[in-house]
Amino acid sequence: MRTQLRPIRRSPFRQIFFISLVLLSLVVTSCMGSSNAKDANVTIIGSGGTFPAPLYQRWFSEYNKQKPNIQVSYQAVGSGAGVEQFTTGTVDFGASDTAMKDEEIKKVKQGVIMLPMTAGNIVLAYHFPNAKSGLQLSRQALADIFLGKVKTWNDPAIAKLNPGVDLPDSPITVIHRSEGSGTTDVFTKFLSKISPEWKEQVGEGKAVSWVVGLGGKGNAGVAAQIQQIDGAIGYVEYVYAREAKIPIAKLENKAGKYIEPTTESATKALDTAKLPENLRVFITDPDGEESYPLVTYTWMMVYKKYDDATKANTLKEVLNWALTDGRKFNEELGYIPLPPEALAKVKKAINQIQA
């Protein structure tokens, strides 16, 4: 019996290897080509801070109810992320509670128009047993709490400001933001103004190196943490504190008065600062007997020039609607509507958007 042996061929792996490489690179390059899907509807996307998110999302959903083919979506990812995505062109508009700086504006080649859309109060919310709204915090006490120098609730620094209040002997847990936030920027600007020690040790910015405390994600995260932790204090936008029903503090303003955050006290603060041509003003520590000290406009950033004419015109329509018909939602949700002078300036600026 003779077995027929097949001649052994040379290993074909070399040719398989090269052909596989070629196939792989073809697959990769074909994946990199993007496909555009053109809809009949108009979709506009934006992202930015959590501060104005409840208002913007309400505006856009109401507008969509009136005009179902126009869909504007807003992602609350934090002011820092919003500015970044707006700069790189990932979104059609950005939103931030702290207006873009000049260096940031230079990076945007399509040009930037900053539109203050609304304003809001940043409040200090806290949680301890039987806490009620209206705890008075002086400028020094506030800075010392966030610097970690005032460590317990019944510290004399707080107790002497609140004679009738039953303050517990428990430690204060500071809650700050874990990610880049316009709310943080405004708050740290205020702290830098009222406390030279804070300015030197920490400074201001969308994200800072906090001395004490733990971080929550977004205004909502901070509100949740304050609700959960006994002895917590943190800074949130007024709407979030109201929704979570957390007690809110009265802050000492520049004139030395303790003011509660309301629409009136906020409007008084806004009136002290005139909006300049580029519509950018930071109301850090305003004058006025009745001004609440932590008020900020919140801006929407749009491009000066859009490639897509339909998008540009739709955006102008939506923004004009928001500032007129949409005004009633401001009141309902607890945001401060723009004072008439500011409103006129913003409307003029909206018209500068070109296609």
Partner: protein, 319 residues
């Protein structure tokens, strides 16, 4: 005999060309996939490395031992976050490995009736299907309040140890460790159970036949035999724990200071990146990429370590 072989030879026909080309095609596809996997890994490393380069240049190895994360002054150091990553994963392993192994043993032996076993296996695997963010929310609203009295007790009686020396607030390293333990439990259980079940029954029967008790069999025969599978499960679980992001970032407290206490808020590399990445620019973004590379390196080292352990134990047990 010649007749039989010539019949056999007549039936063995050469393979048809379609069959050969199908075979070749299949070899090519598998080759491409194998290269593809390695290529993706290399691609990710290269892209992250390129983005991390400015931070590598500016901070060098100092990045690994500095304990500040200051975006205002552009001074970054990742040591507290490395510590947080390793410690939270370690806590998770310390909790999940004994429980997971115990579950695996119970589910692979016949302590429970078969129907109960089947349901338990299904429920265990369902734990793995819960999204990470849901774990995070559950952690904030259920786990942290649950742990609060435990942490208070630990602080009261063991506060003299540096491990429990801070006043508990809620979110912290311990909460993150426990949540990670729950998340990696199904991985450990499933893989350990599979490897225990795959141990040939001869070993089991042999052990019983020489008079070992049930537990002697399990500990001296079955677990050593299934050891490489169990360690593979643990390594996979550890890999998940090291990289887990959303659940951890919601319960760990996001505090970038180094603290040896387990009940103080802390931070992990993954949690740091997810908090700060979308808005970072310039050197901060580069520093975050560098932190990502560090995490990559930690995972690699841990995996190599695991392979060494498996090899050593196999050598030991095969002597």
């Amino acid at each position: 005999m010649t007749a039989a072989t010539s019949d056999a030879q007549a039936e063995i026909q050469p393979r048809s060309t379609t069959e050969i080309s199908l075979d070749k095609g299949f070899s090519w596809i598998t080759f491409v996939s194998a290269i593809g996997v390695a290529a993706i890994l290399a691609w990710i490393t290269i892209v992250v490395g390129i983005q991390a380069f400015p931070a590598l240049q500016q901070f060098g190895a100092k990045f690994l031992i500095t304990a500040t994360w200051n975006p205002v002054k552009d001074d970054f150091g990742v040591f507290p976050m490395m510590y947080g990553t390793l410690v939270s994963s370690l806590i998770a392993l310390l909790i999940a490995v004994p429980i997971g192994l115990a579950c695996a043993i119970v589910l692979s032996e016949n302590f429970l009736p078969r129907s109960v076993r089947r349901v338990s296996v299904f429920l265990m695997e369902l734990l793995a299907a819960i999204p990470s963010i849901v774990y995070g929310f559950w952690g904030i609203f259920v786990l942290i309040p649950f742990l609060r009295p435990i942490e208070a007790w630990l602080h009261q009686y063991f506060g003299w140890l540096p491990l429990f020396s801070t006043i508990p607030v809620g979110p912290g390293m311990l909460a993150a460790g426990v949540i990670l333990a729950i998340m990696i439990l199904p991985i450990i259980t499933a893989l350990s159970r599979d490897s225990l079940a795959a141990v040939p029954s001869d070993l089991r029967l042999g052990a019983y036949s020489i008079g070992s008790t049930r537990w002697q069999t399990i500990f001296s025969v079955l677990i050593p035999a299934a050891f490489s599978g169990i360690v593979a499960g643990i390594m996979l679980a550890l890999g998940r724990a090291l990289g887990e992001t959303m659940a951890v970032t919601l319960v760990i407290g996001n505090n970038n200071d180094l603290n040896f206490s387990l009940i103080a808020p802390a931070n992990t590399i993954a949690s740091l990146i997810v908090s700060q990445f979308s808005e970072s620019t310039g050197i901060q973004k580069s520093a975050l990429m560098y932190a990502g590379l560090v995490l990559f390196l930690i995972t690699l080292i841990v995996n190599i370590f695991a392979q060494l352990i498996v090899r050593r134990v196999n050598q030991y047990s095969s002597k």
